[in-house]
């Protein structure tokens, strides 16, 4: 039996095409994946991301536990600041990626991927029991919903629904707020490469908040467009572009690793950084037409030099793009190779990430 978010009925009534995803029944698309992606780039889109894990950590050792299992400098986070981070194994592999919100003096929220909610939970519990026994862990994934409101049009809409809030919230800041009269924790965060907000109302309030946001003209969006948008923005997907057999340096996530601390993975990561990284994640663009997909070999001079981890058509760039791991010497932009698309060698070249970045004021 699949889980359903508090917005399930709303999706069905909007004719969302529901699919199983990481144990949840989620909308893949409403009107069309590409139209939804374009709406987010040009106006605004609305995503139900309630399937993602929401774990609360409270108590005097909450920061210490998070600092131990993630790569962030957690004690340096001020209240109402959010930070993208990696949760690593003791071998330095990426167990999951997520966002830490510091909600109060001794209160933190960790957002993790739906598919990894159980393994992240077990990892937190293991270290809580072993070293940080004063931390209280609560999984509130089903009690609290999460709605992502993304795109250049969100700013104006938010000004109507929550006057003054957007101005207070710089990127990666968060606040408890009233949006259209509904209480929610709101972060200036997202996974689309656009400006936007992620809101966490109580599960029971989610349908009303969703309705209010739709009334601003936002286009309902499914997981399909979310995947297109994050790829264009060069944002990695755990389980495709990285996993526990990948370390943060191979994945090009060096800037999210704070080295000057002791953590479950700090020893291993220090060793990793000493050694040479042999394979690295690269962005690439197809030079000839063809859709690169997860698992396709990347080939140079007749030899497989890596594999595609994500790929597809980019509506914003009108080209075919992808991510993949290749030998480190093949990552400089312009390096040419081919993608083996079901036996056909199709030309591609390495490009710098992100593929797309929004114009900032």
């Amino acid at each position: 039996m699949l889980n359903r978010t508090p917005l399930y009925e709303a999706h069905v009534s909007l004719h969302g095409r529901m699919v199983p995803f990481a144990g949840w029944e989620m909308p893949l698309q409403f009107h069309g994946i590409l139209a939804e992606a374009r709406a987010v780039r040009t106006s605004s889109g609305l995503f139900d991301v309630s399937h993602m894990g929401r774990i609360w950590l409270t108590g005097p050792e909450a920061a210490a536990l998070l600092d131990w299992v993630t790569t962030a400098n957690v004690p340096a986070l001020a209240v109402n600041v959010a930070r993208y981070t990696l949760i690593c194994t003791d071998e330095g592999g990426i167990l999951d990626d997520g966002i830490i919100y510091r909600l109060g003096q001794d209160e933190y929220l960790l957002i993790c991927n739906a598919a990894n909610r159980d393994s992240v939970w077990r990892w937190l519990v293991q270290w809580r029991d072993e070293r940080f026994t004063k931390v209280k862990l609560v999984d509130r994934t089903t009690e609290v919903a999460m709605i992502a409101f993304q795109g250049p049009g969100t700013l104006q809409a938010m000004e109507r629904l929550a006057p003054g809030l957007a101005e207070r919230l710089r990127p990666f800041r968060s606040a408890q707020a009233q949006v259209a009269g509904i209480s929610a924790h709101v972060g200036r965060t997202g996974y689309t490469g656009e400006d936007g907000f992620e809101m966490m109302p109580a599960a029971g309030d989610a349908p009303a908040l969703w309705r209010h946001l739709l009334e601003t003209g936002a286009v309902p969006c499914g997981l399909g467009s979310r995947d297109v948008l994050r790829l264009e923005a060069g944002l990695l997907l755990h389980g495709s572009d990285m996993d526990k057999h990948t370390n943060p340096f191979e994945a090009g996530l060096d800037r999210f690793v704070f080295m000057d601390k002791e953590s479950v993975c700090s020893g291993t990561l220090r060793q990793v950084i000493q050694r040479e990284v042999h394979r690295k994640l690269t962005g690439f663009q197809m030079v000839e037409r063809g859709v690169p997909r997860h698992g396709y070999p990347i080939v140079r001079d007749g030899t497989t030099v890596g594999h595609v981890t994500s790929g597809g058509y980019s509506p914003t760039l009108d080209s075919y793009i992808g991510l993949g791991y290749v030998s480190s010497e093949l990552t400089p932009p312009g390096t040419s190779f081919a993608v083996d698309i079901r036996g056909k060698m199709v030309k591609a070249k390495a490009v710098a990430l992100p593929f797309y970045s929004r114009r900032r004021n």
């Binding site: 095409r17 893949l28 698309q29 069309g32 994946i33 590409l34 139209a35 399909g224 859709v291 058509y313």
Partner: protein
């Protein structure tokens, strides 16, 4: 809903007979709806001889790759180049600008064995 001027297959292709033993081939509105946004087409070269139910090409949506089959024996006379450049036409106009290939040397009698618009409609209603 489905044009009555042509014939259909259970694999959701359509064939429109033209003059001189030629015919246009495409996929149905139902097929494009199921596929979602089409982003790539791999179509055969001009002159390729195709036998009925043989693979005609591949169609890729954002999420998946599917095979397209030829509903009739024939020779590829023309490929819709505009469609190769703009695969979204399959979604926007599956029965018009979304045609994929023009076959020559088709046997009109063979066409009679395919589904009429009404029969195809009936077939679809059984699927749902």
């Amino acid at each position: 809903m489905h044009p009555v001027d042509r014939r259909y297959t259970k694999e959701h292709e359509w064939v429109l007979l033209e003059r001189n033993g030629r015919a246009l081939v495409g996929i149905t509105a139902y097929a494009q709806e199921q596929l979602g946004d089409v982003v790539f087409l791999d179509l055969p070269k001009k002159g390729t001889r195709l036998e009925q139910t043989q693979k005609l090409g591949e169609i890729e949506s954002v999420k998946a790759v599917s095979d397209i089959y030829t509903p009739l024996n024939g020779v590829v006379f023309q490929v819709n180049q505009e469609l190769v450049e703009h695969p979204e036409l399959v979604n926007e106009d599956p029965y018009g600008k979304g045609w994929m290939v023009r076959l020559s040397s088709v046997d009109a009698a063979e066409l009679e064995k395919l589904l009429t618009a009404e029969q195809y409609e009936q077939f679809l209603s059984q699927l749902q």
